[in-house]
């Protein structure tokens, strides 16, 4: 019997292959400072991510092929495993397509996939509608506790002071990389932008902007997150190793933030009981 989805779930994050991600993984990631030009692997068709239609087709074909090799009794499980694997892969790791139109004015919950520039940076922009005024939403974002809660399980973020945050990304085998950011634009109720320091091992910048949503529906929050791994191509391996995928990071951060503002808590599977034990964190 196929344990549907269980193996795929466990391995999902490990398979977080990014485009252009076929680099050797350095074990000395923290020391990498060279910035090699990004060798554009994006133009290599076989490495291109699937468009939505293509993704569905791939799943269907993949499912059929897998099913042919399986005995009837386990087909349901296989279907669940495949669908589960696909959903979880795309859901948790995120997909990326250069072909999808960029709509920075996306509707609630919408976003655009990560896009890479010549430096190898990945960037994502995503919007969400939150049922509170722009000022309230801004205040909640500025609450010193908010950052660590939003990024929990993804990145460790601690406030050094009101405008300076320390970020740490951790990967397997104890690899970590840490950097500081500084708020560079603070317009209460409108916008907050932060950037990493010039010599930081990771170039990272982000912005949240707040606009009144139409129809008395609160605030449209737009979140932009840009992450440039250290040292170009080798750095991409670091990103891969550290499992930082801005698109899925943005989705989680915005879902959590919306819930926090609207309900005072974030939905969680912490300590969720199952025959696997307690807890089903991302």
């Amino acid at each position: 019997m196929v344990a549907a989805g269980s193996t795929t779930l466990a391995s999902t994050n490990r398979s977080a292959t990014r485009v252009g991600g076929e680099y050797p993984v350095s074990t000395e990631q923290r020391d990498v400072t060279d910035r090699e030009p990004f060798d554009s692997q994006d133009s290599e068709p076989s490495r291109r991510p699937l468009e939505r239609g293509g993704r569905i087709a791939a799943v269907t074909v993949g499912g059929t092929i897998a099913a042919l090799g399986l005995r009837r009794r386990s087909l349901g499980g296989a279907i669940a495993a495949l669908a589960g694997g696909w959903l979880l892969y795309r859901g948790l790791v995120g997909g990326r397509s250069e072909d999808e139109p960029v709509d920075t004015d996306a509707a609630s919950g919408g976003g655009r996939p990560d896009a890479a520039d010549a430096s190898g940076a990945v960037e994502t922009t995503r919007s969400v509608t939150i049922g509170a005024s722009p000022d309230e939403v801004y205040e909640r974002w500025r609450d010193p506790e908010t950052m660590s809660r939003l990024y929990g399980g993804l990145l460790d973020v601690t406030a050094r002071d009101e405008d300076r945050w320390n970020w740490t990304a951790s990967g397997p085998l104890g690899a970590t990389v840490s950097w500081d950011t500084q708020v560079v634009d603070d317009s209460p109720g409108e916008r907050l932008r932060w950037e990493s320091h010039e010599n930081a091992p990771v170039s990272n910048e982000g912005q949240v902007s707040f606009r009144e949503a139409p129809g008395d529906r609160g605030t449209k929050l737009t979140f932009r997150f840009r992450f440039e791994p250290p040292g170009g191509s080798v750095g991409t391996a670091v990103t891969k190793r550290l499992e930082i995928v801005p698109e899925s990071l943005a989705a989680v951060v915005l879902d959590r933030f919306k819930s926090l503002v609207e309900t005072g808590e974030m939905p969680t599977l912490e300590r969720n009981p199952s025959a696997r034990g307690a807890g089903d964190l991302l």
Binding site: M1, V2, A3, A4, G5, S6, L9, T60, G63, T64, A66, A67, L68, R72, R73, S74, L75, G76, G77, A78, I79, A80, L82, A83, G84, L87, L88, R90, G91, L92, G109, T129, G131, R217, S248, A251, V252, D255, K258, S259, E262, T263, G264, E265, M266, P267, T268, L269, E270, R271, N272, P273, S274, A275, R276, G277, A278, D280, L282
Partner: protein, 389 residues
């Protein structure tokens, strides 16, 4: 605690799992006194629902006694007797404020997975796959209930568990199905599927003013229940042609309102039915939309199609041309359970309906694995199973 856990297709076991704990301030812990198996649990049992993980605790039709509450819970306290809706709803988002509780924006911790498939995420549910929340279910000794001020219904009368338990899902689901059918005076309502949801849709159709109710199934005891308890006329779909019979009954007009209380695992007849089954088994088609097709064909022009039956993915050969040209209205969705709890509890307390008429099997939790099989195979006259932990 002991809990019924999913281990794969047709593999449900009683396992020892960790006790749930209060995690968020609006959580409550409920000690379960009665918990039903739902027809939609059989889609999990048969392996049709993606994103299940081995070891997941099943169950979304529970009730019991509150044993602990988080520090922000205002309406419940230890000792309260509650029925827990299968939908988890925050009560604060735009959808909850519109009483569209099953579309809650804030209760699914895995919203991004659902979003990839559906565009947006519906509410988190108990024990119903990781795409729909990943929350442990209620076929267990204890259950953690998030947003406990919004979901659980306090039962203060001394009605036995069995009479109020089905407010957790199937009674409101049947009721919303009838409401979604937009029944007007003397309408003829056809209900496909005479499981518990179908039975409650029949009862509710009468409550909402139907002139005539026709029930369609192939299981003799379910058809008998629809006739005897539901005052419905019945069609055995393997013995009669459903379309011909419905046209004969309605003078060629077709039933005004059609309710698909079957969903994804419909048993089709003929070549199309076989094709669906084959395609579903090799993952070319996630759903078998046989009932949907038949209902579209049979429905009166300008009529309404209400779909409480659970579908999970995509379906082939759905006659969208007839749907469009006949100007049918389709209403569907997971049940907004919280919307119906108070009024339906009142109908039970007033003695207008006793929902326990569908319960055919009462067993301890330990017999859960066998009961999944009995229920799935519709053996032993099984219509509804209630388990006690």
């Amino acid at each position: 605690m002991r809990a019924l856990c999913w281990h794969g297709e047709e593999d449900v076991r009683v396992d020892e799992v960790p006790d749930p704990q209060i995690v968020n301030p609006h959580d409550a812990i409920v000690e379960i006194t009665a918990t039903a198996i739902c027809g939609s649990d059989l889609h999990l049992y048969d392996g049709y629902v993606p994103t299940m993980r081995e070891g997941d605790v099943l169950g979304h039709e529970p009730m019991g006694e509150v044993v602990e509450v988080g520090n922000a819970v205002e309406t419940l306290e230890a000792g309260d007797r509650v029925v827990v809706p299968f939908t988890i709803s925050c009560g604060s988002c735009w959808f909850c404020e519109e009483e569209l509780y099953s579309l809650c924006d804030n209760s699914n911790p895995n919203a991004e997975i659902a979003r990839e498939v559906m565009g947006q995420s519906p509410a988190g549910l108990f024990g119903y796959s990781h795409m729909l929340g990943g929350y442990a279910g209620g076929q267990a000794e204890y259950l953690r209930v998030p947003f406990a001020d919004v979901g659980p219904l306090k039962v203060e009368s001394d009605l036995p568990d069995e009479q109020v338990l089905l407010l957790s899902d199937v009674f409101p689901t049947g009721y919303m199905a009838a409401e979604n059918a937009e029944i007007e005076g003397d309408d003829t309502v056809a209900v496909w599927g005479c499981g518990p949801v179908g039975q409650f849709a029949i009862q509710s159709a009468w409550m909402l003013g139907a002139g005539r109710v026709v029930a369609i199934d192939r299981v003799p005891e379910r058809l008998a229940m629809a006739r005897e308890h539901g005052d419905a006329e019945t069609i055995h779909f393997e013995e009669e042609d459903v379309y011909d019979r419905l046209m004969a009954m309605t003078g060629g007009r077709g039933p005004d309102r059609c309710i698909d209380a079957v969903g994804t695992e419909a048993h089709g007849t003929g070549l199309m039915g076989l094709t669906d089954k084959a395609k579903q088994q090799v993952n070319l088609e996630a759903d078998r939309p046989h009932v949907l097709r038949q209902a579209i064909k049979c429905c009166r022009k300008g009529g309404t199609l209400s779909v409480p039956g659970v579908y999970v993915g995509h379906a082939d050969n759905v006659p969208v041309g007839p749907l469009m040209n006949k100007a049918l209205t389709v209403n569907t969705g997971q049940t907004h359970v919280q919307r119906y709890l108070d009024p339906l509890l009142e109908t039970i307390e007033d003695g207008d309906i006793d929902p326990s008429f569908v319960v055919t099997h009462r067993e301890p939790l330990e017999r859960g694995p066998e009961m999944y099989e009995t229920f799935r195979d519709k053996e032993d006259g099984c219509v509804k199973v209630v388990l006690t932990p």
